[in-house]
């Protein structure tokens, strides 16, 4: 019932998944800023190509990558069309429907293409991060960078329980379906509402049992985190080198105006 989470790839073992999450996060953050601050489409497109290359080398299928890129691209597409119709001064395509004239503007088109490049470049970085790093490592890394402990605790707890709830929700959905719960629009809405309510109810009930199990292991309300693992020098160096390259690349495209 649910789309496949990219999470499963993060569990494989390759040179990218083995890298420390803190290094990856830093590199990704700098790259993202570079992409959205870029003066033109060249840098974002290069980043996209690099990300896709890295992912393909990590054996993430092309089909998966394109499935994940499709949705952001479509939003960019809609915005491209809107922009082309609305902004700019030089029409390059004009057509008429009866007495109405519609013009697509060149400047708007360039704006739109630039926007689309930004979207795929940034999505590339996002996909790289998500396919190579499980969420709890990202949360742990954020904690190291100073995120509040209560946020990290809540995030880890949500992440942990999501998967069991997804299984439960799927089972309930199929159980409803085989009993014709989705036979028409009205019943589909009702069944969906029941499904949502059931998921909430299940989570409330489970939290009581989880709480008991926590108390039975000495939980009194506070949370104790474990220590952070050592940051490997190799990973830190790789991140630093990457960031330096991004700076250089950014300076280059600014100078060239692309």
């Amino acid at each position: 019932m649910f789309e496949l989470f990219s999470d499963i790839y993060a569990d494989h073992s390759n040179r990218f998944t083995r890298m420390d999450a803190r290094a990856k996060l830093f590199a990704a953050a700098v790259t993202l800023v570079a992409v959205i601050a870029a003066p033109g489409p060249a840098l974002p497109v290069m980043i996209w190509l690099l990300s896709v290359g890295a992912l393909l080398s990590a054996r993430v299928g092309a089909k998966m990558i394109s499935a994940r890129t499709l949705s952001p691209l479509m939003m960019a597409g809609v915005l491209l069309i809107v922009n082309t119709l609305l902004s700019g001064k030089t029409p390059f395509v004009t057509f008429s429907l009866g007495q109405w004239h519609v013009s697509f503007m060149k400047e708007g088109l360039h704006q739109g293409i630039f926007l689309a490049s930004r979207v795929i470049g940034a999505t590339g970085v996002l996909l790289f991060l998500s396919f190579t790093t499980p969420a709890h490592r990202i949360f742990s890394a954020l904690r190291w960078y100073g995120a509040p402990e209560s946020w990290v605790e809540l995030a880890t707890s949500i992440y942990r329980h999501t998967f069991t709830l997804i299984d439960t929700a799927s089972d309930m959905y199929y159980a409803q379906r085989v009993r014709l719960g989705y036979r028409d629009a009205r019943h589909s809405l009702e069944s969906s509402g029941t499904l949502v309510g059931s998921v909430l109810l299940r989570s409330i009930e489970q939290s009581a049992r989880t709480h008991e199990a926590m108390v039975a292991r000495g939980y009194t309300g506070g949370t104790v985190f474990g220590p952070h693992p050592r940051l490997a020098a190799g990973d830190a160096l790789a991140a630093a080198v990457w960031v330096a390259c991004i700076f250089a690349l950014f300076a280059a495209v600014r100078v060239k105006g692309i």
Binding site: D7, I8, D11, P134, A135, H136, F139, T156, S157, Y159, R160, H161, F163, T164, Q206, R209, T210, E212, A213, M214, V215, A216, R217, G218, Y219, T220, V224, G226, P227
Partner: protein
């Protein structure tokens, strides 16, 4: 005096129905006690009462002679470990290692000690290789083992288990029972286990309590209980299959069996006593010559 003693314990569900009625129990240190009952007879409630998660409406529960309610949580859970039926209710961290470390960390132990406890506990259940894995990628049997490890890491003297073998496949069930048996025989951990799976019990249990509708129907050692046909059926349970077979042959076909075997090993001995030697003269392979 036993490590755990219950005197006249009664408990009522929030809706009003009686879960337990006047239960007396005594668990000796180092023993393996099984609570045998069919579903809905209050065994989970009893486990929660002994774990101090619920308070009895009537009667008293003592641990090492002290009433449970006066014990601090730290003292209580440092001594009593509880493993619930559904592992998903008990695994709350993202990785296996983190989850097993939850108990020791709450006990305030030093991080080095915590790490040692974690590897020790995971090794004892055979899951040391999975320390860095995400919990939601584990199979059901693996989750059950990790849940057990999480409790073992606290080094409890008494282990309370609610249906540890439920929903496991036959290999998993045998594995789990062997694990628990070793904890009891080799490491001296007192075990109290609620279950309705019969066949492996005779190999491990010292004392068995039969429950029905919140009352103790009978208590005694494995031999007494598991051969008491009437009580077992009255409680909605059955004998071990091998015992059922021989019981039927004894009662129905007049087979002169000595006593009622509970395990395959015993049954074999009894059969060998009955079968004349001539039957064994020719080894099976000779038929082909």
């Amino acid at each position: 005096m036993g490590i755990i003693e219950l005197r006249g314990v009664s408990f009522r569900y929030p809706e009003g129905s009686l879960a337990l009625d006047g239960v007396d129990m005594e668990v000796r240190a180092g023993s393996f006690t099984a609570l045998l009952a069919s579903n809905g007879s209050g065994k989970t409630t009893l486990i929660k009462l002994i774990a101090g998660l619920l308070v009895p409406a009537k009667g008293s529960i003592t641990l090492d002679g002290e009433i449970l309610s006066v014990l601090t949580p730290k003292k209580l859970y440092g001594t009593v470990g509880v493993v619930f039926q559904n592992p998903d209710d008990q695994l709350f961290a993202a990785t296996v290692g983190d989850d097993v470390a939850f108990g020791p960390r709450n006990m305030g132990l030093d991080e080095k000690v915590v790490a040692e406890r974690v590897s020790e506990a995971l090794a004892s259940v055979g899951m040391l290789h999975a320390t860095e894995r995400s919990i939601h990628h584990l199979s059901f049997g693996e989750k059950k083992k990790v849940a057990l490890a999480g409790v073992l890491a606290m080094r409890p003297r008494l282990l309370l288990m609610d249906e540890p073998a439920a929903s496991l496949d036959p290999a998993g069930e045998a594995d789990m029972m062997r694990l628990i048996g070793n904890l009891n025989r080799l490491h001296g951990v007192t075990v109290v286990m609620a279950t309705h799976s019969i066949d492996l019990l005779p190999l491990f249990a010292d004392e068995i309590y039969i429950f029905k509708n919140g009352r103790v129907l009978r208590r005694g050692n494995a031999r007494e209980i598991l051969s008491d046909h009437a009580v077992m059926h009255g409680a909605g349970l059955r004998l071990p299959y091998i015992s059922s077979l021989l019981h039927e042959m004894k009662m129905g076909d007049g087979l002169p069996i000595n006593g009622l075997p509970l395990t395959i090993g015993e049954a074999r001995k009894r059969f060998l006593e009955l079968i004349p030697d001539e039957v064994f003269l020719r080894p099976i392979g000779d038929e082909q010559n």
